[in-house]
Symmetry: C2
């Protein structure tokens, strides 16, 4: 008998009917002989409603009190899930993050999990209860204050619980059937992946695939917890996230189920903007000054490109991408440097999109880059910036060209599903 | 510099505008040089909305999970109040019942406060913060489970905090100006009382005055905490609940502000029903059997009357009043006894009302009972049952006669306000 950790997001517990469905699902896992621990998010729009209330009393509410407020959301959903399970004749106990031993640092609003001390959960399991834990929240180690984990917090709670409890698997329930080779809204022939490595999943998440948050995958990778991403609306097997690309490389037996496919998928991201600092004097330390200023403004950069300087002028251009939401802050920080650095101008472009090709297999397969660029060129799409990692190639294109670039790449790498597969996907109830 | 504990109920924090008003009020007490600790209820209808959600997932939700759910209500309101205070430039810290050290027994849904260990509150006060505490909730001593205190819970939280912190006063904010000599909806000339003793307030609360809950007054009396009942909608001084009738008797100086008025007020209660057990054999132990059965059914009785038995039959009738909500349970329990006891029949009447005259001074003033009964008789109202305590006389009348009996009694004891007082009352913003 193993331990299964399940995670249900806000849309899976949006209303009483959904909560009852989730309860049946949980009981099913218990009946199958598992000890079951569940992390839940707040119901549907609860968090947004609470934020609206906060804004109505204070334009800039203190972070400590905002965390106190928002944690009421999971408290409500977890109690209701426990009640629905009880109504099915099984006993359930709900625990807040603090009660569950989710220990964090003290950064309100985006706390990081430091440790999980699951004593009360283990007692409840030993007593035969199904355990429901409030996602997204914890208690700070030093100050014993209630904290929230920020975006993707409930996924991270689930994986952290799975690690602390040495669970067999962490099942992340969502409203899609798993991880796909591309966004099915753009590529109707996208296929569900049966397995994907942690590294590939990290790249997919970082490149715009919204199905799992980076933090949760990082946590799972560190503690080697298999994540099963699956739909709460169907009984289909989803996508198993597990294994390292290093394992794949070291065990390259032909036909092995763990052998790397060349390409895991095509991701895209329309949330970034591009800033170009034009005419930067090409001398030591100027780039460092620019990026130090951006770091001090707490801006996370993504791609960075610097061309060789034109010999005639000894000036160079530096471009980088960043979240659009940070665009104004970054432009303000850079404008303040113009006098000291003496660059010519700043360009801001938020009509861009990023298309990324990800696959552990591309390391050992030459020609992937050429095929990727050819596919995009054949679709009539112009390339902007380019960046690569060991298992990823990303390009920046016009925002309007993203769909065409994704579709062309998906086809070029033979990722399109056959008709039969497409029907299976179509029947998922999404 | 003293400590003031304030309590705001659900109607005082019903929406963002109300929360901002409460915040200004709290800040006003802080500016006046006090350390301020506040107990808040859930916003307006929040508790009912949460109960609706619980019913939607389970007809009979487990008490532990219901407490987990309902405590989210105060968590929301306390965080919002703290935010609103912060928006006024003062710093506030909110604490759950558990964090505030409100230790209870483990009876979910109606836990009793065993102890208050206010270490975190005292630290926050020492750091200069205004402290907001979730009312109505605590944590159980043995099992460390979240509990709720049941009806009147936030009043009790406030008084318990005041006792633990040795506060100067516990201010209970409500939507009326204080404790009145009668319900102003029935007696427009009712006057606000400036002071009332704990014992009188206990009798008023027990006899249907809804302004303070019995538990909270009992707690205040035990720890000798003055309660100031006042309106959150006006700046008027309300009613001070303090002092014992024994103090009044032992210090009977003429003109002392603590001297007992003869009558504190007239209370009424339309929430009870009357059951009569007709034709009970008048032998030892029969009444005991009846009341043991009712006790086992967890029914709280109020008035009990047994007439002398008719000599011819050696049968007697036993009547008692009880909450209407317990009527069906009591009738069922009694019907089960009919064969063993051999009484003739059961009568059930829920068209009754209770009118009570309460005053510490009536102990030393003969003739109060006669004047009370005469007033009711002059109003053409028929008396049913009668019961008395040292400082109270209660009668049961027809439900339809309650208003007339209250008004006639109020006038007979010269409690009606002069015109000027009535104007002050009318300006209270109720």
């Amino acid at each position: 008998m193993g331990i299964v950790v399940q995670k249900y997001g806000g849309s899976s517990v949006a209303d009483p009917a959904a909560i009852k469905r989730v309860a049946r699902r949980i009981v099913q896992a218990k009946k199958a002989g598992n000890d079951v621990v569940v992390a839940v998010s707040a119901m549907g729009d609860t968090t947004d409603e609470l934020l609206d209330k906060a804004r109505a009393v204070s334009p800039l509410p203190p972070a400590r009190e905002l965390d106190m407020l928002l944690t009421a959301g999971e408290r409500i959903s977890m109690a209701l899930v426990a009640m629905a399970i009880s109504d099915l004749g099984f006993s359930a106990r709900s625990f807040t993050g603090s009660q569950a031993g989710v220990i964090t640092d003290s950064v309100h609003g985006k706390a990081k999990i430091i440790d999980v001390t699951p004593g009360r959960i283990q007692e409840a399991i030993a007593d035969g209860h199904i355990v429901i834990v409030a996602g997204f929240q914890g208690v700070s180690q030093d100050t014993k204050e209630i904290t929230t984990l920020g975006r993707g917090g409930t996924d991270t709670t689930a994986v952290a619980l799975a690690a602390a409890l040495k669970a067999d698997v962490c099942e992340i329930y969502t409203d899609v059937d798993g991880v796909f080779t591309a966004d099915p809204r753009i590529v109707p022939a996208a296929r569900k992946l049966d397995t994907v490595t942690y590294e590939e999943m990290l790249e997919l998440a970082a490149c715009g695939a919204k199905i799992l948050h980076l933090r949760c995958v990082e946590y799972a990778r560190r503690y080697d917890i298999p994540i099963h991403v699956r739909s709460s609306f169907s009984q289909l097997t989803g996508t198993l996230v597990r294994g390292s690309i290093d394992d794949l490389t070291h065990q390259p037996q032909e036909g092995s189920s763990m052998e790397a496919a060349i390409i895991a998928g095509v991701a895209h991201d329309r949330s970034e903007a591009k800033i170009t600092v034009v005419g930067v004097p090409d001398k030591v330390g100027e780039a460092a000054r620019i990026f130090t200023a951006l770091a001090e403004a707490q801006i996370n950069l993504d791609m960075i490109v610097q061309n060789v300087s034109a010999a005639a002028t000894n000036l160079t251009d530096i471009s980088f991408t960043l979240p659009r939401t940070d665009g104004q802050t970054a432009m303000t920080a850079l404008a303040g440097l113009q006098a000291t650095i003496g660059f010519e101008s700043l360009l801001y472009d938020d009509k861009i999109g990023k298309v990324s090709l990800i696959g552990a297999g591309m390391r050992s397969h030459p020609g992937v880059t050429a095929k990727f660029f050819s596919a995009i060129a054949d679709a009539g799409v112009n390339l902007g910036m380019i960046s690569t990692s060991e298992i990823r190639i990303s390009v920046v294109v016009d925002e309007a060209d993203v769909d065409a670039a994704v579709a062309a790449t998906h086809t070029a790498f033979d990722l399109d599903a056959t008709e039969v597969e497409a029907v299976v996907y179509g029947g998922s109830g999404r």
